[in-house]
Each structure stands twice: as structure tokens, then as C-alpha cells.
Amino acid sequence: MIIYVNGEPQEIKQQPFTVADLLVLNQVEMPEMVSVQLNGEFVKREDYQTIQINDGDEIDFLYFMGGGAR
């Protein structure tokens, strides 16, 4: 299946495929530093293992970004 991660198409052969699997595949080293949206909906951290990603789904990783003053 083809999914879209941060707007970029990505081919996935693994089935079933969860949000947690996607984090591993994309080598997100610190999942605590990322929020995940699936088709525009916020995904709760406790649901990463259970929510499945399907063909055509759009996933966005939103990263914590601090910085600014000092």
C-alpha cells in the first residue's frame, strides 16, 4: 500500500501496520518528541500500538520545537 508521511508517498509492504510500526520504520528515535496525526486527526499516544494505517492514509509527524529566546 501507499501512504503519505508528511506529504511524501511511502510504500508499505507490512500488514497489518500500526502507528507504532510507522514510528519504528521512520526511525523516530524519540517518540516523546513527536505528535502524530492520522488523516488530520490527533492520535493519542496510548493508541499507537492499536491504530492501523491503511492504503492512502495521510500521516503527519508534528515535532516539538522549542528555541527562541536564549
Partner: protein, 269 residues
């Protein structure tokens, strides 16, 4: 009612000539009150541009002094300002740029105790802080007080920003419910920042403040704009206001402000 002097008509002529600004819009800018929290990488360009634009009252909040390592990006502070408070240094530049502007300085750190009283006097808030406890505090206080604000963050070659209009659009916690754990946050010293990236982001935040004052165009609400200056890629991700947001949702669990304990990035000041 403010009337324009000939000098003001000249100074703001390039605004006034714009269809979406005009005399009415410039008047709104001159009656506007914007608070900038943190006069560092993001706050420097924001403070300069808002002063240049003639925003009537600009508040600047910062507890720090100007350090040599700031000058690579915090363009409101000069080499001759080293060891001055950032608020004093910024105040001097803003007044020199535009004596019309009233500048309130707050040489302090915002806390759960003081923030609501400070932001209450302003129409719009710009978050130019460098740490997550402050970012969450600003989000929570602005949502509770119903004051629109611009969130901003920068890291290495990247920046992100979103505008929050409380009760109408998604807040920061709709997408980032809790601050990241302490040990997951890279320090400023580890991460670094390309100076100009701070300017790019702070300028976007200032544009949002001006658009809010003149009520033109559409704000960066319900969206997170991120950019990567290395590739010069800009991306806007749609966000939704969440019914189960712990702060602005239907059954909020965050009902009062609390200071979040977290070490701010360790850097020689």
C-alpha cells in the same frame, strides 16, 4: 480619535497605500497592543517590525541580560549592549526606530502567578520563549484569558508556528497535550540554530500580529506551518480543535495555571 501628523502620513505611507490597510488599518495598528514574551531570536525581529509598523503599545518581557552568544541571531541587541538587560536594550532600539511607539518593559520571567495579569492588557501575544514550560504556560494563560497568540519554535534549520484564537481554533495542547519529558529535549547548546531561521520565524509571527490588528486576510489558525531552511521547504499541516483537548476541549482537566518544572536549556549566559 488619533489623527495623523504629516510625519506619520509619510512614515506609514507604504502601509496606507495598501488596499488592505489604508488609513483605517494604520489607525488600528496604532491603537493596537501587542505583547512579546522573550526578546531573543524570535522576539528581536518581531519587536523591530512591530515598532516600525507603529503598533501603539508593545510590551516586551525578558528576564535575561544580553550575552555574546546571543548576537549571532538576536538582532535587536548590539555588541555595545552586552550585559544590559534585554528589555532595556530592546526598548532603546524600538524607541530609536519609532518614537511614536509606547514600549512597556517587564524585566521578569512569566510564571503561573504573574502571566494572566500581564497578558490581559494586550490584544495579541507573541511567544518568543525558548523553553516548553513557558510555551505551555503562554498557551494555557492565553486560552484562559481569551487572548489570541502566535506560537513559535525553532531548531537548527527549522521553524514552526501556529496562531491560536482561543475558543475558535485549535490550541497548542490540541496537538501537543503535554510538555515533552525533560530528558527528551535537546539543549540549545546541543542543537544549535542558524541565526536567520529565527528571523524568518519571528517575522512570520509579527505578520500574524499585524493581520490580527487590521482584521485582514486569514490567520495561521488550525494549522501548523513548518519550514526547513536547508531545503527551503514550507509545509502547512491542518490541525483540528479537539473536543477532548485537556485545556480547550469540552471537559477540560486543566483548570488553573501551574508552573511546569523543567530545566531550561543550559547555556552560558
Amino acid at each position: 480619535m488619533i489623527s495623523f501628523t504629516d510625519q506619520q502620513l509619510e512614515r506609514y505611507s507604504r502601509h496606507i497605500i495598501l488596499n488592505n490597510v489604508g488609513i483605517e488599518g494604520q489607525l488600528k495598528i496604532m491603537q493596537g497592543k501587542v505583547l512579546i514574551i522573550g526578546v531573543g531570536g524570535l522576539g528581536s525581529p518581531a519587536a523591530l517590525y512591530l515598532a516600525a509598523a507603529g503598533v501603539g503599545t508593545i510590551g516586551i518581557v525578558d528576564a535575561d541580560k544580553v550575552d555574546l552568544s546571543n548576537l549571532q541571531r538576536q538582532i535587536i541587541h548590539f555588541t555595545s549592549d552586552l550585559q544590559k538587560t534585554k528589555t532595556q536594550s530592546a526598548f532603546e532600539k524600538m524607541k530609536a526606530l519609532n518614537p511614536d511607539v509606547h514600549v512597556n518593559t517587564y524585566h521578569l520571567r512569566v510564571t503561573a502567578e504573574n502571566i494572566r495579569e500581564i497578558i490581559r492588557d494586550y490584544d495579541f501575544v507573541i511567544d518568543g520563549t525558548d523553553n516548553f514550560p513557558a510555551k505551555f504556560l503562554i498557551n494555557d494563560a492565553c486560552v484562559m484569558e481569551g487572548i489570541p497568540f502566535s506560537h513559535g519554535g525553532i531548531l537548527r534549520f527549522s521553524g514552526q508556528t501556529m496562531t491560536v484564537v482561543p475558543a475558535e481554533s485549535a490550541c497548542y495542547r490540541c496537538s501537543f497535550p503535554e510538555p515533552p519529558p525533560k530528558n527528551a529535549v535537546p539543549t540549545c547548546a546541543e542543537a544549535g540554530i542558524l541565526g536567520v531561521v529565527a528571523g524568518m520565524l519571528g517575522t512570520i509571527q509579527a505578520a500574524e500580529a499585524l493581520k490580527y490588528l487590521i482584521k485582514q486576510g486569514s490567520l495561521l489558525t488550525n494549522a501548523l506551518l513548518t519550514f526547513d531552511a536547508l531545503k527551503m521547504d514550507f509545509r502547512k499541516v491542518a490541525l483540528r480543535k479537539r473536543a477532548d483537548c485537556p485545556l480547550c476541549g469540552e471537559n477540560p482537566t486543566i483548570l488553573r495555571l501551574e508552573d511546569i518544572e523543567q530545566a531550561v536549556c543550559e547555556l552560558k549566559r
